[in-house]
Symmetry: C2
Subunit: 193 residues, 2 copies
């Protein structure tokens, strides 16, 4: 919980009584490596906040999974359309390591928000952050090559590249594991020549 | 302004005095067909709300423009990372028809938000809607073929396909105008066989 409150400080500062309200309302879930957190087809009524570990977002395309993104500590996760409009989600979220998340349920948010205006701010900032993430991911999909996207990943989430199985990095880049190996070799060569 | 207030009702209901505050703070801009609304490289300190027309989001890739999305009436537009973190934007927004937008400046929002909690709600709902849009666009980029994406566009923004120059639709789908023609012919044939 301390971890959560510390990370939420990045969103807005909370008084002790506000912290207490959150402590009473939120609950924690732990996942082991490779465990599914949420599976497509269900209606999402929860928002997750990652306090430890790494979560993979993937879509299912005719039985093949396609990695869209990796979430790490301090990030909110929400299957937006399903959560907002109560339609079945197309998102799959999987823990890639021992992962700890805190859960904001829809009911909890709706009950609290009237008497807790800062929760509205947290919700807005969290949504903004998710939006910026998606804007960047979409822009990079459209404008960059797989090699450029790999270099961006090294710059912005360098530790991730070590932590995550390479087939998921390859899937995120939209290339085969063999092509990823060639990309890595090329970058290594450039850096050491 | 009436148009704006009516469309904002989709976000939250406003009292007359709240409407008055917005009327005094917001201003309108009109763009002619093909005029640029915002160009990459600048820092964005405005959020736009489209009341009439159509706006194309595109990225510049080595001098070629790549269409990412089309905004129409009732949608907010924000270059999120630039607006939030004061970094140069990579987004370009262009009016594709006679377009009318209302402008929320950052200063205006910061001045008003303390005494106007509903603006916080509008901001959150607007951000949520943008997020859902991006989540859907990204998912469709990752999981669908150009033909499937074209059919989605027909379903969700059918009028747009008539309104927008076909080279931008092709660019949005990531195919050449010739391939788009073939896709259309295929769909026409399926529907009429």
């Amino acid at each position: 919980m301390e971890q959560l409150l510390k990370q939420l400080e990045a969103y807005t500062s909370l008084t002790e009584s506000e912290q207490k309200v959150l402590e009473d309302a939120l609950f924690k879930r732990n996942y082991s490596k490779n465990e599914m957190i949420f599976t497509e087809g269900k209606i999402s009524d929860e928002i997750y906040f990652v306090t430890k570990g790494c979560v993979r977002l993937f879509y299912n395309v005719d039985g093949n999974d396609k990695t869209a993104f990796f979430y790490t500590e301090g990030q909110f996760i929400c299957a937006g359309e399903s959560y907002t409009y109560n339609v079945p989600a197309i998102e799959n979220y999987q823990a890639l390591e021992e992962t700890e998340i805190y859960v904001f349920t829809k009911t909890m948010i709706e009950n609290l928000i009237g008497g807790f205006p800062k929760l509205e701010i947290i919700a807005r900032v969290a949504t903004e952050n998710e939006l910026i993430t998606y804007q960047k991911v979409l822009a990079s999909f459209i404008t960059k090559t797989a090699e450029e996207r790999y270099q961006d990943l090294l710059k912005t989430k360098g530790d991730l590249v070590q932590r995550v199985p390479q087939q998921y990095i390859a899937s995120f880049l939209g290339v085969s594991p063999e092509t990823l190996s060639r990309i890595k070799a090329r970058i290594y060569k450039k850096e050491h020549s």
